[in-house]
């Protein structure tokens, strides 16, 4: 049984009162919904505590429990429910030097480093959950959880800062990207086969044109037309890729897949000067294998999606309606497209031996809502076009990232925004208003239109955006 009780709370009868003082009659789930939430939270906590105690008695027990082998995955022994449970444990688990945390390159492991050095990374954290907690499990990070990328291992000012985004709804995002990539590549194949000029449009998003083999007209996506929805600049195409990278740079845990690539001369030797089977010289050879990474991917892909939760008092409800209208009118919705339609909800995740996840059904609720068509098609309200845009010099990072220019970013999905302050890639904006007026480049016109609004209408857009949130539920932290 998964945490099925994290359903959208049933809203109790509302008694709206004057807003002069906060009205305690605001929406609270019904007792039945609360009981379900409590049962669920307690059940989860008891199991977690059981593992923590076992591990205190016999260190290593917890990680043993949370390790599934590739062989068993291949044989399809574990269902998605089991992968979710185990992936959740791995997400919470604080890794130790004995597990391969960190490296032995500058003295005894783990050699943690808050600021990253080049592509090597930190490592700067013990657990995934260290930086993803705000607003609840798998949430965002605050200013203090910012990662300091690609510096010299010490200087914060020389680093390329990134604020941790929340991780809800990644399954539908990955599935959208997979589908858009297929559509764009089919258009490309048509252009190549016919020599024609083809408009690269997927889900109504314009990615320029392609003429025969000439890809000079492509915009907002790499020339290979692979939509890369992960990372603030959109540098990773798959959940597996971003999870594998995060384990390496944040935890210093090198995957067996990467080891094999190093052995075969396919990966840069920037990851340490040890032999291929212990490149980071920490004495641990098998740090994380594909099965464990796949388990984390299966967990993330099954998480709930954020919802739109309008305010409860008349004045804020009026502001919400104005804000929703102005969000479109000002031009925010041009890039922060409120919803994309997903036709194929089956996501393939994993490296060589993919598992399949139906992102519209498997795992935690809420899920993306079905369209009227009742044929499995869903609407993903992520508020992004999954396209890269030039955001101008003010927002630019200190340098480009792989082939992505310094001023280019993926349109950040805004769903779940309420619990993700501070905003923008480096968390420089404490409020939604600050974030909007810091937009530049391709968003300059929309920003100017926002600035031209009267203050109460600017605020209304803020109210609207702060209603993009996760469904509230109790936990036992």
């Amino acid at each position: 049984m998964l945490h099925a009780a994290r359903l959208i709370p049933v809203v109790a009868a509302l008694t709206v009162t004057s807003d002069a003082v906060w009205a305690p009659q605001l929406a609270v789930p019904s007792d039945a919904a609360l009981i379900e939430q409590i049962d669920d939270a307690l059940d989860f906590r008891l199991r977690e505590d059981h593992d923590v105690m076992l591990d205190a008695w016999e260190p290593g027990e917890l990680l043993n429990h949370a390790s599934l082998t590739q062989g068993l995955l291949d044989a399809d022994t574990y269902g998605l429910d089991a992968l979710f449970v185990v992936g959740d444990e791995l997400f919470e688990y604080a890794f130790r030097p004995e597990d391969g945390l960190g490296n032995g390159l500058h003295g005894p492991p783990p050699n943690m480093r808050r600021v990253h050095a080049g592509e090597f990374g930190g490592p700067d954290a013990y657990a995934c959950s260290s930086c993803h907690f705000l607003g609840g499990p798998d949430g965002a990070g605050t200013q203090t959880q910012n990662a300091f990328f690609r510096s010299d291992g010490d200087s914060t000012l020389g680093a390329d800062e990134r604020n941790p985004p929340h991780l809800l709804g990644l399954g539908p995002v990955a599935a959208l990207a997979q589908e858009m990539t297929r559509e764009l590549q089919a258009l490309r194949d048509h252009a190549r086969a016919t020599g024609e000029t083809v408009a690269l449009v997927s889900k109504g998003i314009d990615f320029g044109t392609i003429t025969g083999d000439d890809d000079a007209g492509i915009v907002g996506v790499d020339p290979d037309l692979v939509i890369r929805p992960f990372g603030w600049k959109g540098h990773r195409a798959t959940l597996f890729g971003i999870v594998e990278e995060s384990f390496r740079i944040h935890l210093g845990i090198v995957s067996t897949g990467l080891q094999a690539a190093i052995r075969d001369g396919l990966a840069p030797d920037a990851f340490g000067d040890g032999p291929w089977h212990d490149v980071d010289r920490d004495g641990v050879s098998v740090e994380v294998d594909d099965a464990m990474l796949t388990t984390v991917v299966a967990y993330l892909a099954q998480l709930e999606v954020p919802i739109v939760r309008p305010p409860q008092t008349p004045d804020l409800q009026a502001a919400f309606a104005v804000g929703q209208a102005r969000f479109d009118a000002v031009g925010c919705a041009t890039c922060h497209v409120p919803a994309l339609t997903l036709y194929d909800t089956v996501l393939e995740a994993g490296r060589d031996n993919p598992i399949t996840i139906d992102v519209a059904h498997d795992g935690e609720s809420p899920k993306p809502e079905p369209t009227d068509a009742s044929n499995g098609i869903v609407r993903v309200r992520l508020f992004s076009d999954l396209k890269r845009h030039d955001m101008g010099p003010e927002l630019a990072t200190p340098a480009g990232q792989s082939n992505i220019p310094a001023s280019h970013f993926l349109t950040r999905p805004l769903w779940g925004l309420a619990d993700t302050a501070p905003y923008l890639h480096d968390g420089r904006a404490p409020t939604v208003h600050d974030a909007i007026i810091m937009h530049g480049g391709a968003a300059s016109a929309a920003r100017d239109a926002y600035r031209a609004l009267p203050a109460d209408e600017q605020g209304a857009i803020g109210v609207y955006l702060l209603s993009l949130t996760r469904a509230p539920a109790v936990h036992v932290p």
Binding site: T142, T156, A418, V432, P472
Partner: protein, 380 residues
């Protein structure tokens, strides 16, 4: 009393200090009850409501709280307002400086916008992860130039302040730099947010922290009726820890941990004055006539000790479960690493721990992990 006050006024001795109003006894809903779940949902709604109001009217939250505090609210309400402040993301309109600085220099950061940025693990007002370390007294840039400090959980601090006063120590900060909670909060807001916090707001936050449930000792419960979380994973085994816990409890003394991590300190008066009110903190304590006071199970002597790499105030171990990573700089992800790093005056205890058998070490860890805050529902 009233008569005395009037008499003093009549005699013209000047205005006597007003006797602090006495708070109603603290009443908690059961931490795992529907009432608590409802309270938590309401609190979330309230925070969300204020945040939206602030979108329309920048600076709204702090002014709203000040007004609410002016209206002579109950002590419970002051605590709730304090929690809103604790969780409030400060903005430019609230006075947040424009430039963040992750490594502090002599002027501080700011590197955070809210208390809860760094105090969240294990529940509200909890500890911080390794990434939450503050970097104090540095050059504003290089990690190596600064002192790393891992955020500790903020539980039982009003009692700690009272203990400090009675025992003549300054119990706050890893090196014991502060005598009072309000002093520590003012300094934290200045250093971490670059904000001079309003005095009434500091009092409200102190009230919030003072009213939190105390950490306690909870024996691990074997999960008898739990089925597998998802087949084909095995279900939890019903493992009895009672014997291990009892052994660990004794080993804590025998190894020498309790030499500095003194199980309890005696508090004579549990009356705490905050926000101009008198708050009775004795409801979670038990009077011991033999000791002439309330034993408070802090697991610290609140004294400074040389640990080999510098002198530190003995860390309070109550609430330890859920506060990882350990040590002042968060360098220990697990208990064994923390114990192994003890040197100086604690070297003998470390050596004895490492000489224990595997089962004995396991028993001691089981005991340590039973020091925890009570499970409580929270809506994040």
């Amino acid at each position: 009393m009233k008569g005395l006050v009037i008499a003093l006024l009549v005699l013209g001795c000047g205005d006597p200090p007003p006797a602090p109003e006495v708070c109603a006894p603290i009443e908690w809903s059961h931490p795992l009850s529907i009432e608590r779940a409802r309270e938590e949902h309401l609190h979330l709604e309230r925070r969300r409501h204020l945040r939206m109001k602030a979108a329309l009217s920048p600076g709204f939250v702090l002014d709203h709280v000040s007004q609410a505090l002016d209206a002579n609210p109950s002590c419970a309400e002051i605590g709730r307002l304090g929690r809103l402040l604790f969780e409030h993301d400060h903005t430019f309109a609230d006075g947040l400086p424009r430039q963040f600085r992750r490594v502090q220099d002599d002027r501080g950061g700011p590197e955070a916008t809210a208390c809860r940025s760094c105090h969240w693990r294990g529940g509200p007002a909890g500890a911080g992860a390794l990434v939450d370390n503050a970097f104090l007294h540095g050059d504003g840039d290089a990690i190596a130039s600064a002192e790393a400090r891992n955020p500790p959980p903020l539980l039982g601090l009003a009692l700690v302040e009272l203990l400090g006063r009675e025992h003549g120590v300054e119990p706050f900060g890893w090196r014991g730099e502060f005598a009072t909670l309000r002093g520590f909060i003012a300094d934290s807001a200045r250093g971490h947010f670059g904000i001079e916090m309003r005095p009434e707001h500091i009092e409200a936050i102190v009230m919030y922290l003072a009213r939190l449930e105390l950490p306690t000792t909870v024996l691990p419960v074997p999960p008898r009726d739990l089925e597998t979380a998802a087949a084909p994973l095995p279900g939890p085994t019903a493992f009895e820890y009672d014997a291990q816990w009892a052994e660990g409890y004794q080993l804590f003394d025998e190894v020498g941990c309790s030499t500095c991590h003194t199980r309890s300190l005696v508090l004579k008066s549990a009356t705490y004055v905050v926000a101009g009110r008198q708050l009775d903190l004795s409801s979670q304590l038990t009077w011991d006539p033999d000791q002439g006071g309330y034993p408070v199970f802090v697991y610290s002597d609140l004294q400074m000790h040389d640990l080999g790499r510098g002198a530190y105030l003995t860390r309070r171990l109550w609430g330890l479960n859920g506060s990882a990573p350990y040590l002042h700089d968060g360098s220990a992800p697990f208990l064994d690493h923390a114990i192994a790093a003890h040197g100086g005056e604690a070297a003998f205890a470390r050596d004895r721990f490492e000489a224990l058998t595997g089962d004995e070490r396991g028993a001691l860890r089981i005991f340590l992990m039973s020091l925890r805050r009570p499970w409580a529902l929270a809506v994040p």
